[in-house]
Symmetry: C2
Subunit: 141 residues, 2 copies
């Protein structure tokens, strides 16, 4: 398998992760992750979660708090060595919840491991991208 | 080389990165990173930076804004495959700047690549850990 077909498969796994997020379907999100105690997840502003149970519970809580989420992913970079890969990207989220519609941008680092030919998320780290209230553009804090 | 000696070398590289941060010495920080255009860095609240120049400029700016920084790193996890490794950890920072002393906690994902036997940082992602003003403990946002 060439490097570029690896990259395509890794980016497809990254897209599948965000499609699961948008679906608000915990079963789909569970399919995207490696079911192991070593997986970790940092949601924006949250402490790091470790292990299958805590990570899935966090998605359950996030999904329960939203009616609908639309995510546009931009600026993806991908690197891999063997069966380990990492992607950086920017998530632009429109979230419809009980208190109305909110917009936010998140910088993400997603790490994947390949098992039996399939790439699984083993770590997700999202951090809030601070927006300028004056311009609405994303910039430094 | 056994896995556990790899882990020790990776954790040593992680400690060297934070020692460079505490030193506020740009040369030391430069030694910790792989000098390539593909390196990336997300500081807490910042947009992602890519490439040697922007990443080093960001450290120069951070170092210029502090007299002294003390960092305690806790809860390190390490995973690696071949020449790619990633560490998660929590940074507890005490920063002495022009406007006094501030304390903060940051969740970090650090990714390393091995070149000629040495592990270099290729990606750093730090995100603010929100503290409860009532208890002072770290908790969900």
């Amino acid at each position: 398998m060439t490097k570029s077909s690896d990259d395509r498969a890794i980016l497809a796994a990254n897209r599948a992760f965000y499609a699961a997020f948008e679906s608000l379907d915990l079963d789909k999100m569970a399919e995207a992750w490696l079911q192991e105690g070593s997986i970790t997840c940092v949601h924006p502003g949250w402490a790091r979660l470790a292990g299958w149970g805590p990570v899935m519970k966090s998605w359950e809580d996030i999904f329960a708090s939203a009616f609908r989420v639309e995510i546009t992913v931009t600026d993806e970079t991908v690197r891999s060595t063997g069966d380990l890969a990492w992607v950086t990207c920017t998530e632009h989220l429109e979230t419809h919840g009980y208190d109305g519609v909110s917009h936010g941008a998140v910088e993400a680092t997603n790490i994947f491991e390949r098992r039996d030919g399939k790439w699984y998320v083993v770590h997700h780290h999202g951090s809030p991208l601070v927006r300028s209230p004056e311009t609405g553009s994303e910039q430094l804090q």
